[in-house]
Symmetry: C2
Subunit: 445 residues, 2 copies
């Protein structure tokens, strides 16, 4: 199924350094969006570039036949930052193919996956004059920064985006060749804490002991977010958490992804976390308070005996049904404000957020998706899982367009999404192309 | 007293970016040492450059007359790093003179102070053919990194360095024009903590909850160093701490440096610290566990939803009599090792250290120094203080050369040593020159 033209397309797509979080890459995002427009147009789709206050949205569609169902396929062309760059074995934007594995930033998340759908449609259109469904491609450039402009775009384009079901391949498979259907996602809420003590860096000998050290205060605030058992200690944090159902716990125990393998994938000294839950349960169905970064004082070579003026930390909370990001962040901020001593100034900066998601995998569209998955992958049993990551737009789709999303992931557990040496196997790229062809047929029934 | 040639010398001395902690400045340190050699030689002193495995030591001396006492004046030509550079109002190595104040890195710590002694000797030698004492200048380039090569240099040059008393101007005055004699210093012990959890940065959604986040663990370890009352919670930390004597507490209450002024100098929202002690007592006579820097995960613009592989922190402990740096660091390391969970790897890297120092201000040499101080400054009452900073070499001098050190500081409380916009008033530069002239006479008696 994979031919040189498919590979050429993938490599061209991956060469754009479309890092959405960093303004210096803006032109690469624009060029990447233009490349998609050209690709869709060449396939005979009606493609439109929609500028936003941030990065442009690419919309492409077939002609609309009222007799057919309408399927919307969503993906994103933006990628995560690449640092630490020195840990990459090859430059992140020069795709490298070896032993059937493509290494490049965005290869799995999400360029490889969304391109397999695009090429699936391309192949079908070579065989038949028309698709079995009306198709809309919606490919945005701001997923990695929380899709700040997508909801308003949907709201102003409700008619154009009206559809029966949405398909996203931006999730994972439990193991190679195992078809996987993701019926739940964690939500997210981002927060930055900024502390200032003295109005300048001080000599830690001359003044140390008489004024608060903002790093010390920050560490105490962060430490107060968890208790000794690894549970989040913010009052009310768990109030709306829906407990796992017994069929989920039972079914997940049979998956070809166990604790030993998870440990290997993470390269950690050991697994750890909330008592009473397996590692998969902790990742898929329990909320977290995760530190993404911390910074303060002197970080260069050697020692600088400074009592720093400032310290800051970046946090994201992963949320599960039925936690609401706004409510949770409000509780966290209240906890931090209550805990922060008056010896430092604290500023809290709210970041992006998205609601958790949960859907019935055995709805008619869910069953159609399961049939298509069965065809596209060698293993028969379909893994029904939730995922720890967040695709906040899924909840937004449900809210604004009133439709469910089928999450049909093509990422392997060791794809290193968001990490150095992100990679994507060619066999998954091929499976994705086939999956798209089968899926559109099944959804048309 | 200050003439243009003195100013030219100071500016030339300050223009060397002699940052000892950063290897990229090596050549600037060499050039700075060469400049001193030339300066001493031009004054008629016998000057020698002594290379070390790090930065060179400059030694200069008068001819030795066995009938005279020998005074050793110690100083350093290396300076602290300059970051954060953007907070400087003028480039740190382009000295700026305005309203009688010189702003430059090293202006107070220690170039301005050691140069005033050098110029004091130069002026005396213009008036008289010989000094009243045998004089040795010892100026090193590694004070800001803990003088790693000075002790061994002293040990191999015991005869050349034999002296009756040592003088150092690298401490502070309690207020402008107030002569100040420092009879105690805190010691120091530096430590870096490195934690590694996963062997690569992970997606915080996919894996968050199942593995330890090294930042979270680090913050909990650091938080465990203090109790709720701001006392250090490491077992045995206070065991050898000598309590303040009542004359010290009484005398310090009368100093022209009070809590309100300290608060103003630090620019902090409030003063804080160990209960039962004033701010001066906390800084001068109580030990601390201070965070100099912390680092981990993503620190760039925006959000990166990463579960980081690594986190690290730089700490220095300030110690008071009779704490021993080695014993204290051992107790801290034991505490950290006991507290660190097995879900991360911890590496502890010991840094430089120095013992605390305490001397009798009313010894014969102490009284001589007090007489010289009285002459050099307008205010009569001499402030007898301790200091929070560390000059570890003072304890080393006592140990190896068997002599006491007179700490006669010229730095003002707002000199911003180690901070952006470090500065030194011309009037202190002039007072230092006069102090040196009076001091050598008084010590000769």
């Amino acid at each position: 199924m994979i031919n040189q033209r498919h590979l050429d397309d993938l490599f061209a797509f991956l060469r754009f350094a479309s890092v959405s979080t960093d303004a210096t890459y803006k032109s690469q995002l624009d060029l990447c969006a233009d490349w998609l427009i050209t690709k869709f147009s060449n396939m005979g789709l009606n493609a439109e570039l929609h500028p936003t206050p941030g990065h442009p949205i690419v919309l492409a569609r077939t002609k609309t036949d009222p007799a057919k169902k309408t399927v919307l396929i969503y993906g994103h062309y933006d990628v995560q930052p690449v640092d630490p760059l020195n840990l990459w074995t090859h430059p992140p934007f020069e795709p490298h193919l070896e032993n059937g594995i493509i290494t490049a930033r965005g290869s799995t998340d999400n360029k490889g996956q969304i391109l397999s759908h695009i090429l699936g449609v391309q192949e079908t259109l070579k065989l038949t004059p028309e698709l079995p469904v009306n198709l809309i491609f919606l490919v945005e450039g701001e997923e990695e920064i929380g899709s700040p402009n997508l909801a308003s775009f949907i709201q102003t384009h409700l008619t154009e985006l009206a559809c029966d079901v949405i398909v996203i391949s931006d999730t994972g498979m439990v193991a190679p060749q195992h078809p996987t259907f993701t019926y739940g996602l964690r939500g997210i809420a981002a927060l930055e804490i900024f502390l200032q003590g003295p109005d300048k860096d001080l000599h830690s000998g001359i003044y140390g002991g008489a004024v608060a050290n903002p790093i010390t205060v920050l560490t105490r605030l962060i430490a107060s977010l968890h208790d000794e058992q690894g549970r989040i200690a913010v009052p009310g944090f768990y109030s709306e958490v829906r407990e796992l159902q017994s069929w989920e716990r039972d079914s997940w125990k049979t998956l070809p992804l166990n604790d030993a393998e998870l440990l290997l994938l993470t390269g950690s000294p050991s697994l750890t976390g909330e008592a009473g839950y397996s590692a998969l349960e902790r990742c898929w169905a329990r909320p977290t308070a995760e530190l993404n970064g911390i910074s303060g004082g002197y970080q260069g070579e050697g020692t600088k005996t400074v009592l720093p003026s400032k310290a800051s930390a970046k946090l994201t909370f992963r949320l599960v049904p039925d936690q609401d990001p706004e409510t949770i962040i409000e509780r966290v901020c209240t906890h931090l404000k209550t805990s922060c001593p008056t010896s430092v100034h604290m500023e809290l900066k709210l970041g992006h957020s998205g609601k958790p998601y949960l859907v019935d995998p055995n709805s008619p569209y869910g069953l159609a998706a399961q049939r298509a998955l069965s065809c596209a992958f060698p293993v028969n049993a379909i893994a029904l899982i939730r995922e720890g990551g967040s695709i906040p737009i899924v909840a937004t789709f449900k809210e604004l367009l009133g439709v469910d999303t089928l999450l049909l992931g093509l990422a392997l557990p060791d794809c290193r999404a968001h990490s150095p040496n992100e990679n994507f196997p060619l066999e998954n790229f091929a499976a994705g192309i086939l999956l798209n062809q089968k899926l559109l047929k099944e959804l048309a029934l």
